[in-house]
């Protein structure tokens, strides 16, 4: 066991982990932050996406010890300070960008990373950026729409409300 420390959603946390403990496992099992989901074992689905030092990473494909000292953000830390949904979360609700909710944390975290580097993405840019996030429920329509709406674009002309 090795001690690992990091900042998660603004709080300093630490724990004893094995070399093989994944960041997703540390978040879920040690910190009980179960909003980060694990949907595959080949780094394809993106349900586990979190932010490490501000960048989107697949937490099931990163060792917890690799995040030692890092600043980690998870879905549990995304809401506004008063607990209300942030702009992206609100857009997902407004535009029905989720159904079963399992891929949603990863989608929201990826969307946040996208809008940070590209504040007004085109439809094609959103779709391309979501290459590493699988959703089986929505056919992606309302996810793409929600992210464009969250960027302040008018999505009212996009088919089907």
């Amino acid at each position: 066991m090795t001690k690992v420390s990091m900042t998660v959603n603004g709080k300093t946390v630490s724990g004893d982990v094995e070399g093989r403990t994944l960041l997703s496992g540390f978040l879920r099992d040690h910190l009980n932050l179960t909003g980060t989901h694990v949907g595959c074992d080949t780094a394809q689905c993106g349900a586990c996406v979190v932010h490490v030092n501000g960048e989107a990473v697949k937490s099931c494909n990163m060792l917890a010890l690799e995040a030692d000292g890092a600043d980690v953000g998870t879905i549990e830390g995304q809401a506004n300070a008063d607990g209300s949904l942030n702009v992206i979360q609100q857009a997902f609700q407004d535009h029905h960008g989720l159904q079963c909710g399992f891929c949603t944390p990863g989608m929201v975290m990826s969307a946040a990373a996208l809008l940070k580097e590209n504040p007004r993405p085109t439809e094609a840019e959103v779709r391309k950026y979501l290459e590493g996030n699988l959703c089986r429920c929505t056919g992606y329509h309302n996810i793409v729409k929600a992210i464009m709406a969250a960027s302040g674009q008018d999505v009212s002309s996009i088919a089907a409300e």
């Binding site: 998870t74 549990e76 079963c100 391309k128 089986r136 056919g139 089907a160």
Partner: protein, 786 residues
């Protein structure tokens, strides 16, 4: 004018808040104090005879609690099949045992051989590695047609052959069918494959079994679409437990699409092992494990023949299908190629003579069962592909050919056992033509051609039988369960309402849509109504969610229970208002006496029901009603879909340029959710048509065993979809007039995509009349160059 609440409003989903903030409660988020973990040692060969299993070394490994093999389950029931199909000679289907852990033989890659329970998952895996297996490999039975031949290797040694059943529906007189085809002016024939798929809900399956010694009670937390069905099957057929001692909880479930309907061995194992180990036992499937243990979908090989007269009227249809059931009968597997498939072969057309033949085969593959659409996509794909091919052969417009043959009079008795209650196929097609701007297609094609691309338009219709299902009818057809549903409407003293429903929401938005109905009926705010689902200790005995049934069946039960509540509340109100019950009206949450200004609020009545001081003595206190609802018929959503593709003639790459759906779902409670259901179905249908392929090699090795080789549709594989559901012929036999919308997209979209690709190729001078799904670049290129 869109409504802002109640039936017809696009109310935002209340469940989203917890999912968007990481506060969902999925099964893998549940950890029970003291739990151990199970790892299943699964077969890495497709077919073999188990000569010995030595677990002694494993039992001595660190952290190991107990090691189980098939021997531990001798005398325990196997996984049951919920539907007995009778073959065309009147004999029951062949029904081999499906043990929890393999006994005697392994029959597919992934078949569980042993289970190691240990303090940690990694310890369980370590121990599984030292289990000594001696398995004699046998030839794998993979090809369905070869498997049907006499002398084929048997998947199950105790069966007479590999044919589960040889089933027929429709015209039984072969000579009569032959005569129709002999007299036809034109016959179009098509051989096609409906590709094997893996449902792949994003949440892998999980089961946590818990046993309380003090009370002899079990709890199973599981990723299920129907907790009561799981409890019934597991208690009555597998483990022999009293149902009242077993609670099954399906909390937030991350998508199902059919594959979480079935009772799986892992669920029974965790429940059984919790007592045997005297510790909670947890199993979390990895995605790799899911590929070889979740029931697969589709996998039909068919020949379809369509006979037309000289005026292009459909006069006969004959299909011959081999349906793959895999190595064992999964819970509802036998019903999929038969009653969920053959009955839909009439489609939207008034073809007078139809004969459907299905041989269902055992092979050394993962069991195959219902996946979104379940039988109906297979029927629709065959029919809509052969109609399209006929139109091309005859040189007629494919839409006109369809319109000419549409059923237009309702109710309509099909030659394949269904009665369509209502529909307007021409009206729906009109909506499609407008919504998809089919008039502008020629210009769009010219534009694509100017860019060096081939553009194609594919159109098709579909009909499905949903609202599954009338119990008396399905009982006659072999179902071993009733298919009603149930709801309890519990009004609390202060007027808020808890509705306990048998349906299970795993993405469908019941927690939002169901309250819209109840709130609308009473005239109170939606936020006063809460849905409780997914826990057998809390809800009435319901059959769960599949077959686009939740609102049509469980929603109807909820309406009936709410009507009972309102009726009783009116009696209380009449007492309070000193009026006759017949004069009491309920509107906007106020009970009033007709023709007067006397009224009493909903909340005052509900309080009175629980504080019955001034109360009608002949009425029981309290305000809680339960209703069970058994539908009188299936519902028949129908629609018309259009797909436009571009094909890169150099690479064969297909891109979906536009996809438009026009559906008739009858009445709609929440249009936003309905649109979302259609979007998701189309996404899966495009996935089947272009990308997804669960492939085995000839030795039974699974080639597409992870997302690295099983191509899931991604955001940039699909466009924005156009969805129109303004064509509405309400269902005639349920109280809401709803039909169901969950599967339509997946049923209606694959033929549109394939028809579009073929249209593109033919427009480019390539006389290609069929390409099997997935229509991958490689296959398109090969077809163009053959």
């Amino acid at each position: 004018m869109p409504k802002d609440s109640g039936i017809g409003a696009s109310s935002k989903r209340r469940e989203d808040v917890r999912f968007l903030t990481g506060a969902g409660n999925y099964t893998d988020d549940i950890n029970v104090h003291g739990q151990a973990y199970v790892h299943f040692l699964r077969s890495d060969i497709a077919h073999g005879r188990i000569k010995s299993i030595d677990t002694s070394a494993a039992e001595g490994m660190p952290g190991v609690v107990k090691v189980f093999t098939g021997k531990d389950f001798e005398g325990v029931g196997g996984m049951p099949c919920g539907w007995e199909v009778t073959d065309k000679h009147g004999a029951p289907m062949q029904e081999p045992p499906h043990p929890i852990l393999a006994q005697g033989k392994v029959r597919h890659v992934g078949d569980p051989i042993a289970a190691v329970v240990a303090d940690s998952l990694e310890q369980a895996r370590d121990a599984a590695e030292v289990i000594d297996l001696d398995i004699e490999e046998l030839p794998a039975v993979m090809n369905m047609k070869a498997a049907a031949q006499d002398g084929s290797t048997l998947v199950h040694d105790d069966l007479k052959n590999n044919i589960c059943y040889d089933w027929q529906l429709g015209e039984t007189d072969d000579a009569k069918v032959d005569e129709v085809f002999a007299n036809a002016a034109h016959v179009t024939t098509l051989d096609l494959v409906n590709n094997r798929l893996v449902a792949n809900p994003m949440e892998p399956r999980v089961a946590v079994g818990e046993y309380k010694r003090g009370t002899d009670e079990y709890t199973l937390f599981t990723t299920s679409q129907n907790p009561h069905v799981i409890r019934l099957l597991m208690c009555a057929f597998v483990l022999g437990l009293p149902e009242h001692k077993v609670c099954v909880v399906a909390p937030d479930v991350g998508g199902g699409f059919g594959t979480k309907i079935f009772h799986y061995a892992e669920e029974a194992f965790c429940t059984f092992a919790a007592k045997a180990c005297n510790r909670p036992v947890k199993w979390t499937s990895s995605r790799s494990e899911a590929f070889m243990s979740d029931a697969h979908g589709r996998d039909h090989v068919s020949k379809i023949e369509l006979a037309l007269d000289a005026d292009n009227n459909f006069i006969g249809l004959r299909t011959n299908t081999y349906a793959n059931l895999g190595a064992y009968l999964s819970t509802f597997s036998s019903s999929v190629p038969t009653w969920l498939h053959g009955t839909l072969m009439a489609g939207n057309y008034k073809t007078p003579v139809i004969q459907v033949n299905v041989k269902a085969m055992f092979t050394n593959t993962v069991p195959v069962d219902a996946y979104r659409g379940a039988g109906r996509p297979e029927a629709t794909y065959q029919l809509e592909r052969v109609v399209d091919k006929a139109a091309r052969e005859l040189g007629v417009d494919p839409i006109a050919l369809r319109r000419q043959n549409f059923v237009t009079q309702f109710p309509y008795d099909t030659p394949v056992a269904l009665t369509y209650d209502t529909g307007d196929y021409n009206g729906t097609m009109d909506k499609l033509e407008a919504a998809a701007d089919l008039a502008g297609f020629a210009a769009r094609r010219a534009q694509s051609e100017a860019n060096g691309k081939l553009r194609g338009l594919g159109v098709n219709c579909y009909i499905e039988a949903c609202g599954i299902a009338p119990s008396n009818i399905v009982g006659m057809l072999g179902a071993r369960a009733g298919l009603y549903d149930a709801a309890t409407v519990r009004v609390n003293a202060t007027g808020s309402i808890s509705v306990m429903v048998g349906a299970h929401s795993h993405g469908q938005g019941h927690e939002t849509a169901f309250p819209q109905v109840v709130a609308d009926m009473i005239g109170i705010d939606e936020s006063m109504v809460e849905i409780v689902h997914g826990d057998t200790s809390k809800i009435p005995f319901g059959m769960g969610t599949y077959g686009s049934r939740s609102l049509a069946v469980c929603g109807s039960a909820m309406v009936k229970a709410t009507e009972k509540v309102i009726e009783k509340a009116k009696r209380i109100a009449a007492h309070l208002l000193e009026a006759s019950e017949a004069d009491i009206e309920l509107k906007d949450g106020q009970f009033s006496v007709a023709g007067t200004d006397k009224s009493v609020a909903w909340g005052d009545v509900t309080l009175t029901a629980y504080v019955p001081h001034n109360y009608p003595l002949e009425v029981e206190p309290g305000l809680e009603e339960t209703a069970f609802y058994d539908p009188a018929n299936f519902t028949f959503p129908a629609g018309a879909y259009a797909c436009e593709v571009e094909v890169d003639p150099e690479t064969g790459q297909v891109t979906i340029e536009a996809f438009t759906a026009a559906d008739d779902f009858g009445n709609i409670v929440n249009p936003m959710i309905v649109d979302g259901q259609v979007h998701g179905g189309i996404g899966q249908g495009i996935g089947q048509a272009l990308l997804e392929n669960c492939a085995y090699d000839e030795n039974g090795q699974l080639l597409s065993a992870s997302f690295m080789d099983y191509a899931m549709p991604r955001a940039d594989d699909v466009p924005f979809y156009g969805v129109d559901h303004s064509s509405q012929t309400p269902c005639t036999h349920n109280p809401l007039g709803v039909k169901g919308c969950g599967e339509a997209g997946a049923i209606g979209s694959p033929p549109a995509v394939v028809n579009a690709v073929l249209d593109a190729l033919n427009s480019g001078g390539k006389a290609v009349d069929h390409i099997d799904m997935p229509v991958s670049p490689s296959r398109v290129w090969a077809a163009m160059n053959s």
